[in-house]
């Protein structure tokens, strides 16, 4: 029975159920919304990733947190891509459901780990030069989108001129 797991009680659980995954993502987004700053949640909801500044004051770099993709460090002034940090949060406790967290949970796990201990998380990650897993041109487009998004948000918060 490919793609399914039969439990002892004979309940058949589809390994991938789009409805279940959608509901899980909605729950994960609610959790994210209650933990991160409103701007960070809006960024995820509208762009699909979160940018987190390096935690040292005036660090001059930030991280892009994508779901189930490496963390990308970049220079905040120049937009130069610095490194990819490959890190995963796999939960193998229930094989019937797979090991992959909902997207928003994966991003939130990265966010909390960075906020609570940047060095500890970076030490656990596999470090690569930019371009190992993510297309650098796509990341640069994302940075461009982020800059435009921040501009629109500032204008919206400033109100009509």
């Amino acid at each position: 029975m490919l793609g399914r797991v039969r439990r002892r009680d004979q309940e058949v659980i589809p390994r991938y159920d789009p409805g279940r995954e959608r509901r899980a993502e909605l729950r994960a987004r609610e959790l994210m919304r209650s933990v991160v700053a409103p701007a960070e949640y809006d960024m995820y909801a509208e762009l699909g990733f979160i940018s987190v500044d390096g935690l040292q004051p005036g660090s001059g770099y930030a991280y892009l947190l994508y779901p189930h993709r490496p963390i990308v460090a970049y220079a905040t002034e120049s937009g130069e891509l610095l490194n990819e940090y490959c890190v995963a949060f796999h939960d193998d406790s229930d094989p019937a459901l797979g090991s992959r967290l909902p997207d928003a949970d994966d991003v939130l796990a990265k966010w909390m780990s960075l906020r609570a201990g940047e060095r500890n998380l970076i030490a656990k990650a596999n470090l690569h030069v930019p371009g190992r897993q993510l297309d650098p041109n796509q990341v640069r487009r994302d940075l461009h989108m982020l800059s435009a998004w921040r501009g629109r948000r500032r204008a919206r918060l400033a109100g009509p001129s």
């Binding site: 899980a24 209650s34 700053a37 995963a88 459901l97 796990a109 966010w111 609570a116 201990g117 500890n120």
Partner: protein, 75 residues
């Protein structure tokens, strides 16, 4: 956090009540025994933060919740 679910409520209660605290400590330990990481979301003015905790005694008394998630590993 759980694959296929999002967040799942494991236990809730008032840590000032002995019976509740015992239940919370038990749930906390079970998660850490299973290898999960535990984080407490915090608010510092407009800034949102999180602290990792490894023992129930490290959870701030005024914490609203502890979020458990799988540990990070090199991807």
């Amino acid at each position: 956090m759980k694959p296929g679910h999002g967040d799942v409520l494991l236990a809730e209660g008032d840590p000032e009540v002995a019976e509740d605290e015992e239940r919370l400590v038990e749930a906390f330990r079970r998660q850490l025994d299973e290898g999960m990481w535990a984080a407490v979301p915090t608010t510092d003015g407009p800034r949102r933060e999180a602290v990792m905790v490894r023992d129930f005694s490290e959870v701030p008394r005024d914490a609203e919740r502890v979020v458990f998630f799988p540990p990070a590993a090199g991807g």
